[in-house]
């Protein structure tokens, strides 16, 4: 029985809550869903998502996954938009410092567990690391077919023609597949999956990643996963192959030309600079130059 053991570990500073906030029964329920998710890569497993002390839409799915897998030996990194110092990343990090008394870091390579919103770190992840994604809408077919009863059938029957039609219509209308983030992928040749709203720039990093990737959608009560070294292919057409964003300018701070850049507006006359969205990567590049 894991429950009583972990209960007694809970520190005095947990304000009456169990270790890592969730009770052990809930953690067990989430871990069961996780095992199923890992066994069926890309399949959305319904789980009894709980109300969390932060609002739905603000990372409750990711927080529940992190709470279910975190332990005292972990080192946690939390990023939002690639940055460790955005307000919600700060808020989630301090939540786990408080309820799980866990070490935290901003250094990607030092982390055993990384919770992210909207980015995959630029530094390649290693075997043994876990990347937890916060997911707003887990269903890749949702904006084509809003009904859960229908989309579940479509996944079961591998009936994905409608997705390709949508991408084709984009090309016909705009000349491009007009999806720049949350770009759909096919996992292990079977399920079409929403990679969460990461820019499509990050999609190739998911393919054959040595780290375990877990996805949590709290409001929609779904968990899915990509086990290490799993094929993840971004959907495309032979004559319109998948490509990623490129910038004409380097990062204004570190000079990097191969990272995802955020645009910073510097006045109201159109002046702007570009900087790395991944703050840890930007710091590494600056240190290399120094």
């Amino acid at each position: 029985m894991m429950s009583s053991q972990t209960m007694t570990q809970a520190g005095d500073n947990n304000h009456g809550y169990n270790y890592a906030y969730l009770d052990e029964q809930t953690k067990r329920m989430i871990r069961r869903a996780l095992l199923k998710a890992v066994a069926i890569p890309g399949y959305q497993v319904p789980f009894g998502g709980r109300e969390m002390p932060m609002p739905y839409g603000w990372g409750t799915g990711g927080v529940q996954l992190t709470a279910a897998v975190i332990g005292r030996d972990d080192t946690l990194k939390v990023i939002d938009q690639g940055a460790d110092d955005t307000t919600n990343a700060v808020s989630i990090r301090s939540f786990f410092q408080q309820v799980a008394q866990v070490k935290t870091t901003e250094v990607t390579t030092d982390a055993t567990l990384i919770q992210t919103r909207h980015r995959i770190p630029e530094t390649a992840l290693q075997a043994g690391q876990i990347l937890v994604y916060q997911v707003p809408i887990p269903e890749p077919l949702r904006f084509i077919e809003p009904r859960e009863t229908e989309t579940r059938k479509m996944h079961a029957l591998e009936e994905y023609g409608i997705m390709h039609v949508k991408l084709y219509e984009d090309i016909a209308r705009y000349g491009h597949i007009a999806t720049a983030y949350a770009y759909p992928v096919r996992v292990n040749g079977r399920y079409i999956m929403d990679p969460s709203p990461i820019p499509k720039f990050d999609n190739p990093k998911m393919d054959m990643m040595p780290a375990l990737q877990l996805f949590g959608a709290g409001r929609e009560k779904r968990i899915y996963a990509i086990p290490p070294y799993t094929r993840v292919k971004s959907l495309d057409f032979e004559d319109h192959p998948f490509d990623v964003q490129q910038w004409d300018e380097p990062c204004d701070v570190c000079g990097s030309t191969d990272s995802f850049l955020d645009e910073v507006v510097t006045d109201d006359r159109g002046s702007r600079v570009f900087i790395c969205s991944d703050t840890d990567y930007c710091r590494q590049q600056q240190e290399k130059q120094a």
């Binding site: 009770d23 709980r50 839409g57 938009q81 307000t87 000349g175 491009h176 990461i198 820019p199």
Partner: protein
């Protein structure tokens, strides 16, 4: 040039302080006590208990105070607390026919067993601002003498006995628990009713109203609305018999709706059911209208209005979910926005290559 968005931690701490100050207001004025909220803002407390899913007036009042009167925020506070509570036991089903009536009205019978009991209501209040309340020291006077309580059987039960209403009875099935297991569609009635009880009052009111205006009409009569106290009973395993553990206030609405049947099947009225903690009459009536609308499938009715669309109604009724997801738009979306911007610029370049730069509108200068 570029100033990094640092200092998130300090900013958050300062924001908490500012909000606390805003909530407290002018400290020269006395602070509102939780007991005052509980007693004097019962409408807010009842709604927060119902949609928060916890019957505890003190905690609900605390949530209302802590949220500065923002009820959706208060509901969220109570839900986040509720989710951490251990499930100790399950009570016996409540028998609302044995409710100690504070208010009971029927719009279908002029008089009926148990009588019409008007009780506390705003129904016949002229909505004139009472400027006397601006001054303090109000005393509403002694409570009016109540009539002797009588047995008060439910209108729906009376109709069921006469076979004028489709009978609904306990099928012995364990009810769903939407707080522990994810909802799957189509839902069974128990899961539906649970979601409706927790659902946003405003959303259900609007949907119920829409059925009255023809978007999935179901011919409702307020068969009966009753409010009062019921006793909760528990059967501890080691005892094997029920013991009373306390009383709670409930409001129940049983709507009598349009009949089904005809030549093939004996015609009978149908019903919609609404229940809330405390005195939540508007919510209970709205819930009953929507509950009936969602039975379209069971009665082979055409789904013609949004209120009859189960997945649409239930997936969007929860205000904690809804306000969370709407408010998350305040979180940074720099990365997604940048990804869109890059695509837009690429498409604009292609447009210029095709049509010449003259065709481009004035605006962004790269």
């Amino acid at each position: 040039m570029y100033v990094a968005v640092k200092g998130g931690e300090k900013a958050i701490a300062a924001a908490h302080k500012l909000q606390a100050k805003k909530r407290r207001g002018n400290t020269a004025r006395p602070e509102v006590s939780v007991a005052q909220v509980e007693e004097q803002l019962a409408g807010a407390v009842d709604r927060v208990m119902t949609e928060g899913g916890v019957y505890d007036k003190e905690l609900a009042a605390l949530a209302v105070k802590q949220a500065g009167g923002d009820l959706v925020e208060a509901i969220f506070l109570l839900r986040a607390y509720r989710t951490t509570l251990p499930r100790l036991a399950v009570t016996e089903p409540v028998d609302t026919a044995r409710m100690r009536i504070a208010r009971r009205i029927s719009a279908t019978y002029k008089d009926l067993p148990g009588g019409q009991v008007l009780g506390p209501t705003y129904d016949y209040t002229h909505r004139l601002l009472d400027f006397a309340l601006l001054a303090e020291g109000e005393y509403p006077g002694p409570e009016p003498v109540a009539a002797e309580p009588q047995a008060c059987p439910q209108v729906s039960g009376i109709l069921e006995k006469l076979e004028l209403m489709v009978a609904e009875s306990d099928d012995g099935q364990a009810p769903a628990d939407v707080t522990m297991a994810p909802v799957t569609y189509p839902c069974d009635r128990s899961a539906r009713l649970q979601q409706l009880v927790r659902g946003d009052e405003g959303f259900l009111l609007a949907l119920g109203y829409s059925t009255q205006r023809g978007y999935g009409r179901n011919h409702p009569f307020a068969g009966e609305i009753r409010s009062g106290e019921v006793t909760l009973e528990l059967v501890p395993e080691e005892l094997g018999f029920a013991i009373e553990i306390g009383d709670i206030e409930l409001t129940e609405c049983q709507m009598i709706n349009g009949f089904v049947g005809g030549r093939q099947q004996k015609p009978a009225f149908t019903r919609g059911y609404g229940l809330t903690f405390g005195f939540g009459e508007r919510k209970a009536m709205s819930m009953a209208l929507v509950d009936r609308a969602l039975q379209a499938g069971e009665y082979q009715e055409q789904v013609a209005g949004p209120a009859q669309d189960e997945e649409f109604v239930l997936a969007h009724a929860d205000n904690v979910e809804a306000s969370g997801f709407v408010s998350h738009l305040k979180l940074p979306h720099y990365v997604d926005f940048q990804a869109e911007l890059e695509l837009l610029r690429k498409m604009r370049r292609e447009y210029e290559q095709e049509h010449g730069p003259a065709a481009s509108q004035a605006g962004e200068q790269a």
